[in-house]
């Protein structure tokens, strides 16, 4: 039988908390408690003020596609192809790497408005993905 699950991240003190929040259906952005600067991916120290005290904010989920690629080859077990990978500039600030879903690979564009959804795999693993924001008719 084909391996059906993606490669899971190792859960350490510097990143495990982030995945725990995602498992609670939240997209967290780490924030320095001292200077309030947001950072992603998570790290133990703030590069602005060197504080190691941090908390996080809940991202609203909206953002814009900064860059993208469409993975077609090689194809690894545990993933379904083609995969659209996007860098999303979040509205709060910081940039995140994720998959774009509900979008034809030919339709993805630079600057495209997207929003987040926490997706649950069949094995229960949750991860953030983005999908296109479609303008409502009449807007």
């Amino acid at each position: 039988m084909e391996q059906s699950s993606r490669i899971k991240p190792p859960m350490g003190p510097d990143n495990g908390w982030w995945w725990q929040e995602v498992a609670n259906d939240v997209l967290p952005i780490q924030r320095c408690k001292n200077c309030q600067v947001l950072r992603h991916p998570p790290r133990p120290m703030c590069d602005q003020c060197r504080s190691m005290e941090w908390d996080f904010v809940r991202a609203g989920g909206g953002g814009a596609v900064f860059s993208y690629t469409v993975l077609e080859h090689p194809q690894f077990p545990g993933y379904s192809y083609p995969i659209i990978i996007v860098l999303v500039d979040l509205e709060e600030g910081t940039r995140i790497t994720a998959e774009l879903v509900d979008c034809d690979p030919g339709e993805v564009e630079f600057g495209m408005a997207v929003t987040v959804r926490i997706q649950e795999d069949s094995d229960g693993f949750k991860l953030p993905v983005f999908y296109p924001v479609i303008a409502q008719e009449g807007e």
Partner: protein, 389 residues
Amino acid sequence: MPISMKNEAAIAGIGQTTYSKNSGVSELALACEAVSRCIDDAGISPSEVDGLVSYTLESSDEIEVAQNVGLGDLTMYSQVNYGGGAAVGLIQQAVMAVATGAANNVVVWRAMNGRSGRRMGQGASGVMMSSDLIHWSWYQVYGMLTPVSWVTLIANKYMHHYGVTAEHLAEVAIAQREYALNNPAAFGYGKPLSLDEYMNARMVSAPLRLYDCCQETDGGCALLITSTERARDMRQSPAVIRAVSQASTRGQEQMTSFYRDDMLSLPEMELAARRVYDMSGLGPDDIDAACLYDAFTTEVVMQLESFGFCQPGEAKDFVADGNLRLDGRLPNNTHGGLLSEAYIHGINNIAEGVRLVRGQSFNQPAKAEHVLVSSGVGVPTGALILGRD
């Protein structure tokens, strides 16, 4: 007054194994063969080698190589991190050793079964814990398991912003393949590449196609660095190291420097450029030929701007005008490069830089007084300027 690295040392020997898709021998055997040939090329005895430098990715320990090749007492050995970004770093380690007297004759090498053995970018699942594994995990979880999947996010942004097309990238690939047609050691020897073949090849990580990507190779390559003075008494004419520097900048990640404000340039390569131009007293106009790191075609295009051969956004026109060809402004990767000779993590590009300065390239340009070589793109990297003695 700090010790200068300018002109203190030279590359006096190069050695390589056969480059293939299935070596049938161990990586240690490849390493020993490359190191042994490099020592013979320099015309010295193995017992005169007292320093060794390789990559952290290397599977063969220095002392294993030393035992096999019958090297002398070792007084300096080290390894450099970051895959292909290490290539020029090896030279910097060797030059520092030679300039300070830590060692006299340093061999640097890389040997790998890069196709038949552990291929690059096969991923690692998360049992062990390190900051490096956590770094990769942000990408692996989404299926980004190969170098091309990481590189393309930066390449696509640059291409979109400056209007770089597949035709521009094809010119990089085809120019280097045509060099490889004259190099019997190259994968591309006897295998011409047409524009149609390039365009019709499968999309790998859109917009990059198969021929935008380098080879996967089994093979080894080694270089001997010694003082410029000693090099003059050895068998080959010295390739003098005019300048060398490693370079890593703010926001640097390994392949995934996605979080900088813009992604339209390579800040670490610009740092490398400033460093080697300052140290050598040379500028872009003094560089006659280059071996710009070419794991992917887009990397060559972007580096032309990093090293000041073109203004931002103009590299595509520089390429389209044929400037990377033998009669162009900057013959580049005249052995075929990583795209069409072999992928030995960039050390084989340094070997070609040496051949160019010696006048031994299979595609020797009219002038090769100064040759620029860079290491890995998108990782902590470095640059090197070689000159004729």
